[in-house]
Every structure is written in C-alpha cells, then in structure tokens.
C-alpha cells in the first residue's frame, strides 16, 4: 500500500520513464518541474505549446529541450486536444496540464470519452499527504462536475475507489461530506449521502468501507461528540476518500495546502490513463510530485484491466 508521496516518488523512479505530454509548459515552475522529473527518471516529455516560449524557458532553467519531441501549437484548446488525443490513441501514458486553464483539458477529455463511447464520468481526485497520518487521503471531485447528482457522485466515488485499489488500498474508507447541520432543513447532499450509503452496502461502489458521517465534526467527534481540547483530535480517523458535495467545496478544501501543513497532488481519472492536474499556481516541488503520481498510476493501469 502506498502510504506517502515519498513512496510515490520512489516507485516513479523505478517504473519510469513514461512518455508524458506536457500541455503548455510555458512558465518557469512548470519547466523546472519537467526538468526535475526527467532527471529523476520519471518521464520522457513530449512538449506541446508555443515553441519560442518553451525554448526560452528551457534555456532559462538550464534544460536542453532539443532532445525531446515538441509539437508547436499556440491555441489553448488545440494544445489540449492534441495531448489528450495522444493519450487516447495509446501514443503515450500520461498527460499533464501546464500553464493552461483546466477547463480546456476537461473539455478535451470529455469529448475523447464521448468518441470512445466509454460511458466514463470524468473526475479529479486530489490527494493530500498529511504529516504523521500514515495514509493518503483524497478529495473528489475537485475539478469537473459543478453540482453532481446522486448518479454522478456514485460514478465519482467508483473512480476514486478504483484509484485507491490501484495504489494498494484493498478497502478504502470513504465518506460523503455535506453542509448538513442539525437545523436548516435537509440538503440534497445529505439525501445523496443516505443513498450512497445504501449503494455502498449493496457493493455498488466497489470494495470500500462507508463511514457514517457527513462532516469533519462527525468524523472526529462522532454524532454527539464535543470538542474539548485540540489535542484530542485523532487524525488517524481521517478517511481515505472524501466525496465533496460540489465543485466549489472541493476546490476550496483541496487547495488548503496553501494554508495547512499538507501536500496536494491531483489526478484526473480517464478510461485511457492518468491526467495530472496541477494548479496553474502550483510550484515546481508540487508539480514534480503530481507527475510522479501520474507515472505510478499509469504503470499500474497498464497492468490492470478495469
């Protein structure tokens, strides 16, 4: 079982290099991350974007990119379509977002899934490594579905459970969180929680354990508990997979790494492989980890028929 992002880096070094398309590495942090990932043996990059910008950046960060395949393209949507097209046609194992808005990539993936008639609900899993926890925890969907309904949420959970199985977690603990309080009526997310709980009991979400809680207070204190002292918070109770009720919530929570002592790493699950989704605001350390995660997931996907 992969317990930390250090484990991920180690395995990526062993299983790499994998062919990875970087969509518009037109920013210093991204180019540095590509350089470091190549040096670590994780990736063999295919660079797609504005050639002049990439050349200049390569020079600036001391990275000779002449040895790599480059595809010149300026249009953001075209860059994304080319990279995702290569993934879906099996020409490479992984795609990573560069300095390009995520919406273009999701559009490309959704179109490609449609063409492939995969029936796949595309979703993003954002992992957190919390110091001292001993397992990875993840929020999902943090990227695609704005206000998912029950059916979409079930698909999103199945994607995440599948991903956790790939990482060696036989029975990940999952929780569907909600803004439900003890007053204020019943929220749709709470209704979905109850339906998902039943679906989990019927085995419809894959091998997993469904936690009977809808908030962090309930996860850590139980349904009627009271926080007495911060030292009483037992982080080991943190579930593996946290289903968020909507995109706003997911994006806000998963990027709290800018505030808290956690490390984030996001990946989109598609029917044909991994797509790394670093934020355009991420720094190279974080991007290198995301690329390593992509390599590990791609490697395990190659061995696993879903």
């Amino acid at each position: 079982m992969i317990r930390s992002l250090d484990d991920i880096s180690l395995i990526a070094g062993e299983k790499g290099p994998k062919r990875l398309a970087v969509l518009a590495p037109e920013d210093e942090e991204f180019m540095v991350a590509v350089k470091r990932s190549w040096e670590a043996g994780y990736i063999e990059p295919v660079l797609i974007g504005n050639s002049e910008k990439m050349e200049k950046l390569g020079e600036k960060v001391g990275f000779d990119i002449s040895r790599f395949e480059k595809i010149m393209e300026n249009d953001r949507q075209a860059i994304s379509d080319i990279g995702i097209g290569m993934l879906f046609s099996g020409k490479l194992s992984i795609v990573s977002k560069g300095q390009i808005p995520t919406a273009y990539i999701y559009r490309s993936i959704i179109r490609a899934e449609g063409k492939a008639s995969s029936g796949m609900t595309v979703s993003v899993v954002s992992f957190w490594e919390i110091p001292g926890l001993g397992h990875l925890t993840a929020f999902t969907d943090t990227g695609v579905s704005i206000m998912p309904d029950y059916k979409t949420k079930a698909d999103i959970l199945r994607n995440a459970v599948f991903l956790y199985h790939l990482l060696g977690y036989k029975k990940p603990r999952i929780v569907a969180i909600s803004g439900q309080r003890k007053f204020g009526g019943t929220l749709d997310s709470y209704r979905d929680y109850k339906l998902l709980r039943k679906a989990a009991e019927r085995g419809e979400l894959g091998e997993c354990e469904f936690v009977h809680a809808t908030s962090f207070a309930e996860i850590f204190l139980g349904p009627r508990g009271r926080l007495r002292d911060y030292r009483d918070i037992d982080l080991a109770k943190m579930p593996h997979i946290i289903l968020v009720p909507r995109l706003d919530t997911g994006n806000i929570l998963c990027k709290l790494d800018f505030f808290l002592d956690v490390t984030r790493c996001s990946i989109a699950v598609t029917s044909r492989g991994a797509v790394c989704i670093p934020s355009r605001a991420d720094f190279s350390d974080s991007i290198v980890t995301e690329l390593a995660m992509g390599v590990v997931v791609a490697d395990r996907l190659e061995k696993e028929v879903r």
Binding site: D27, E29, P101, A103, I130, I146, I177, S178, G179, R181, K182, F183, G184, G185, L187, S189, S215, F216, A217, I219, F220, L221, R224, G225, R226, L227, R228, D229, Y230, I233, L235, M238, V244, P245, R246, L247, D248, T249, G250, N251, I252, L253, K255, L256, F258, F259, L260, D261, V262, S279, R280, A281
Partner: protein, 297 residues
C-alpha cells in the same frame, strides 16, 4: 486592532461592563464556562430553568461565590422562551444556548415575531486566530444560510464588515471564494462574486476591498494569484473570506479546525442582542473567548 483570542478577552474586560448573560436549562459543562466568564468579570450569569436544580448545581461550582441570578421556570420547555423574552425586553444583554437542541434554539431565536432577529437575515461568522501571527481572520457564512443569493451574500458580507470594524480592522480585504478565479456563467458562485466585487469597486461597502471570484489559492497567496494573472491588494492578505454557500463554508471552517487545528470561535450576526450558539466544535478553552467576543458586540 485585536489580533489574538487573548486580545479579545482583554478587550472585553476593558469594557468594564459586566453583561447579563441569560442561559436556559444549563448543563454542568456550560456552568464551568459560565463560572470562568463570571470570574473574569465578563458577565453576570442569569440561569433560567428549574430553579432548585440550578441552585444545587451552582452550589457545587465556583459560581457559588460570584454574582449570579436564577429565574425559576417550571413550565416544561418554557425556559428558552423565558430566556429569549428576558433578552428581548432588555433584562438580559446576551443569550447562550443551554441544553436545547440546535433546531429548537435556532427556530426560537430567529422567529421574526417573538425571537431576536434584527436584520433581514442572520449569519454566522467563524473567527480564526492565525497560527504564529497576531491576526484574526473571519470566514462566513459557516452555519446559518444554506444557499444565499447575491442579495443575501451582500447582507452576510455587511455583517462581516461590521464585525471587522469592531475588531479594529480598518479597510478590510475581502475574498469572495469560488471554485475558480474566472467568471464562468455555469458556476453561479463566480457570478455572485463578480457582482459583489463590482459593488465594492463602486464603494457600496465603504472603505473595503472586495475581490472575487477568487479560488482559495489566489486568496491565500499573492504569488499564486500573480501566476494566474490576478493583481490585487486582497490576495495573500485577506481579512474576510466569504464562502459561496453552506457546503463550502461549514466544511471549510471544520477543515481548518480538525485538520489545521486552528483555534476558532463563532458569532451570530444580525440579531438585536448577542446570541451564543454553543456549537460542539468550539473547544472548551475557546468558549470563554466566544463569550468575550459576544460581549464586544
């Protein structure tokens, strides 16, 4: 400017006016907190409910040697109504939830006819003390309104601006949070944020800088915002975080408490008098701070 929870207690003490705090159907853990607040000179407790039971409880506590009052209410379920009436009629200055369940308590205090609601809506502000810094940040609405529209968000923001003013934060920076920093008509929170931001630009909130939509990375980091092409005085230096709806607000506050272990107290705004909700995720130590904060309103 008050920058720490200790500073909040000091500020409340310096007011030198003991507030009469009504609490109905008191429980033992609440009595401990009330006793501490009374000892600190912040309040005079007014216990409303079964008088004999309350007196017996007080006798075994530190409150016995301090100033307090008991109002005996024998009618079952009537103590909350009586406590609210005391506050409404000015015979008490603040209200704190005792043994009542949250739903009953909220429905009672928010009743437009017999409750304590002053504004068109109430909102809840989570006040966090930033670790290793003398700065308080406000996150709202984290408990009351489920899916506020832009009109409601305006009211919620005005509550937060008011509290910021009471804490001495002049010209607060406000981040209106959303999933992304770009305006996307498919994501309603980004539209609301843009409207509030424009209202601020036209000085409709006074000397306040409202930026939105902002995703949380842009709100938290000036450098991250810069990499996404956003230049604003707000990014990386936010005083007020306005959540898009309750799912995000409530869960954001809880994440900061349980994962970030950040100290939090809360305050209900929009009421005629301060109301303390006595929520389960406020630590024992911070409950005293919460009383101090309420007494500043």
């Amino acid at each position: 400017m008050v920058g720490t929870f200790a500073g909040l207690i000091d500020a409340a003490r310096e007011k030198a006016v003991k507030r009469r705090l009504a609490i109905s159907s008191i429980k033992k853990p609440d009595l401990e907190i009330i006793s501490r607040a009374a000892k600190e000179g912040l309040i005079v407790p007014l216990l409303v409910g079964d008088g004999i039971a309350a007196e017996a409880m007080v006798k075994k506590s530190h409150l016995a040697s301090l100033e307090y009052e008991i109002m005996d209410v024998k009618v079952s379920g009537g103590s909350l109504q009586a406590a609210v009436a005391l506050v409404r009629e000015g015979r008490a200055d603040m209200l704190m939830r005792g043994a009542e369940d949250l739903k009953t308590f909220m429905n009672t205090v928010l009743d437009t006819r017999t409750g304590l609601l002053k504004d068109k809506l109430a909102s809840y502000i989570s006040v966090f003390q930033l670790p290793k810094s003398d700065k308080l940040i406000l996150v709202t609405d984290t408990f009351v309104n489920n899916y506020p529209g832009v009109t409601e968000k305006q009211a919620i923001l005005e509550h937060a601006i008011k509290l910021a003013g009471l804490l001495g934060i002049e010209a607060p920076n406000v981040a209106v949070l959303a999933a992304i920093e770009q305006i996307n008509p498919s994501i309603p929170s980004t539209l609301d944020a843009a409207v509030l931001s424009k209202m601020s630009e036209r000085r409709q909130f006074g000397n306040v800088f409202v930026e939105g939509p902002l995703d949380i990375d842009c709100a938290l980091s000036h450098v991250a915002a810069g990499r996404k092409g956003i230049k604003s005085v707000v990014t990386g230096n936010v005083d007020i975080y306005l959540a898009p709806e309750i799912e995000s607000g409530y869960l954001l506050a809880e994440s900061l408490i349980f994962v970030g272990r950040m100290e939090m107290v809360g305050v209900l705004m929009g009421m005629t008098k301060p109301v303390i909700l006595n929520l389960p995720f406020i630590s024992r130590e911070n409950r005293l701070v919460e009383i101090a904060l309420a007494s500043l309103l």
